[in-house]
C-alpha cells in the first residue's frame, strides 16, 4: 500500500468531478455538515444512521451495506473517494469499513472537508441524483478488525496503540472535548498501549504528514514493525485514521482496528486497566 493507491489530493478531486467512474462520498458525524454544503456531486453517508446497526452495538451487516450502496447508486467498479469533517475521522472509518467488506478501489481525500473549505474550493447544496445500482459486498476481512478477546491477549505482546488525546489516555477525560462526556464507565487505557494521538499524523489543515515524518513518529513512539499492531480510540473512528496511516500509507504488516475501542473496553469486567500518563505493566 502507498499514497498512490489510497489517497487523492483536492486538486485530483476537482479534476475528477465529472468522472463517471468516481463516486465522492461525504461521511460525517455532524449530520448537518453535508446539508450546509458539500463537494459537487458528492453523496452523503451518515456515520450513525447509515452505518451503525441501530439495535446491535455494531456496524451494519453485509446485506444492509449492499442495499445501502445499491440504493445510493454505487457499484463494485466505482472508485469511491471518501472525505468528511473532523479531520476525516469518520471518512477513514468508512474507508476501513468498506475495505472490511472488500471494496477494491478506495481513496481518502487528503485533508477532507476542512482542507477543501480552507482552500475556498466550491461547495454546493445541490443533492445529486444517481440511478440505483447493484452492489455486492465480499465476505468480511477479519485481518483488519480486532475484537476484545484478541486485544486482551495482545497486552504486552503486540503493538497496542491508543490514538486518543493524552487526557483521554490518562483517564482525565472520557471523550473528546467537543463531544458529550459519555461512553465508557471508567477512564484510562489498555495496559502497555502507547499513546500516539491521531493528530500527530496530520497537519493543521487535516492533510497527512509526509511518509518520512510519519515513519519517524511511530518509530520514536516505539512501534515495532516486526510485530502485529492493534489501534484503538474511543469508538473506532480516530483509530481508523491511524490504521489508515500505518496500513495504507506506511505499509505496516497486520494492522487491525479495534472498533469496540475504549467505549467497550472501559466498560468490561475482568480486564486490566492502566491510568495516568505511563503505559503500565502487562
Amino acid at each position: 500500500m502507498s499514497r498512490d493507491t489510497t489517497l487523492v489530493s483536492a486538486d485530483w478531486v476537482e479534476e475528477h468531478l465529472d468522472d463517471p467512474n468516481v463516486v465522492l462520498i461525504e461521511v460525517d458525524e455532524d449530520v448537518e455538515a453535508y446539508d450546509k454544503g458539500h463537494i459537487p456531486g458528492a453523496i452523503k453517508l451518515d456515520w450513525k444512521k447509515d452505518l451503525q446497526d441501530g439495535v446491535r452495538h455494531d456496524f451494519i451487516s453485509k446485506d444492509r451495506l449492499e442495499k445501502l450502496l445499491s440504493e445510493k447508486g454505487v457499484s463494485n467498479d466505482h472508485t469511491i473517494v471518501l472525505y468528511g469533517g473532523n479531520n476525516n475521522w469518520f471518512a477513514a472509518y468508512a474507508y476501513w469499513y468498506l475495505k472490511y467488506y472488500g471494496h477494491q478501489n478506495l481513496r481518502l481525500l487528503d485533508g477532507g472537508r476542512k482542507k477543501w473549505e480552507l482552500d475556498s474550493r466550491e461547495l454546493t447544496d445541490e443533492v445529486p441524483e444517481r440511478p440505483a445500482a447493484t452492489y455486492r459486498a465480499q465476505e468480511p476481512n477479519e485481518d483488519i478488525r480486532a475484537y476484545r478477546d484478541e486485544v486482551v491477549e495482545a497486552i504486552g505482546v503486540k503493538n497496542l496503540i491508543d490514538v486518543r488525546s493524552p487526557d483521554e489516555y490518562a483517564g482525565r477525560l472520557l471523550a473528546p472535548a467537543h463531544l458529550p462526556q459519555e461512553a465508557a464507565q471508567i477512564g484510562g487505557h489498555i495496559p502497555t498501549a502507547g499513546n500516539v494521538p491521531w493528530s500527530k499524523a496530520a497537519n493543521d489543515d487535516g492533510t497527512f504528514k509526509s511518509d518520512a515524518e510519519l515513519e519517524q513518529l511511530y518509530t520514536e513512539a516505539g512501534l515495532d514493525r516486526d510485530k502485529d499492531t492493534i489501534a484503538y480510540c474511543r469508538i473506532g473512528e480516530r483509530s481508523s485514521h491511524t490504521w489508515f496511516v500505518l496500513s495504507e500509507l506506511l505499509g505496516y504488516r497486520n494492522v487491525k482496528n479495534y472498533d469496540g475501542s475504549w467505549s467497550e473496553y472501559g466498560s468490561l469486567r475482568g480486564v486490566p486497566v492502566a491510568v495516568g500518563d505511563e503505559p503500565g505493566e502487562a
Binding site: D30, E117, L118, L173, P176, H178, D204
Partner: protein
C-alpha cells in the same frame, strides 16, 4: 448579522455545574466568521478537539479545568492562537479576531 454577538452560543438548558466550558466567537473586522475551524490544544500543545464555527461564528468546548490554547484556522487568514483558562462550573468566553 447585526454584529451584536459578543460571546459563544447560548447556554440555555445546559447544566454547566460540572463542566469546564470554553466558548466564543470568531470575528473578521467585527463580523462573525462561519467557516472557521477552532482547535483546542492542551497545556502541552497537543490536539484535544476541533470544531467548525457555526453560521454565526460561534464555537464551544466542554474541556477540563486548566490551561488551554485555541488555534483558529480560516480561509485567507493567518493562524491565530489564543490562551484560555478553564475552570469547573465556569464558562470561559473568548473572542478571536482573525
Amino acid at each position: 448579522m447585526c454584529g451584536a454577538i459578543t460571546g459563544g452560543p447560548s447556554l440555555e438548558g445546559v447544566d454547566v455545574t460540572n463542566q469546564a466550558v470554553i466558548q466564543g466567537v470568531v470575528l473578521r473586522e467585527g463580523q462573525p466568521v462561519g467557516n472557521a475551524y477552532v482547535r483546542l490544544l492542551d497545556r502541552n500543545g497537543e490536539f484535544t478537539a476541533e470544531v467548525p464555527t457555526s453560521a454565526t461564528g460561534q464555537f464551544r468546548f466542554f474541556a477540563a479545568p486548566g490551561d488551554w490554547t485555541l488555534r483558529t484556522l480560516a480561509p485567507r487568514a493567518e493562524v491565530v492562537d489564543s490562551r484560555v483558562v478553564a475552570a469547573k462550573g465556569a464558562v470561559a468566553e473568548v473572542a478571536v479576531s482573525i
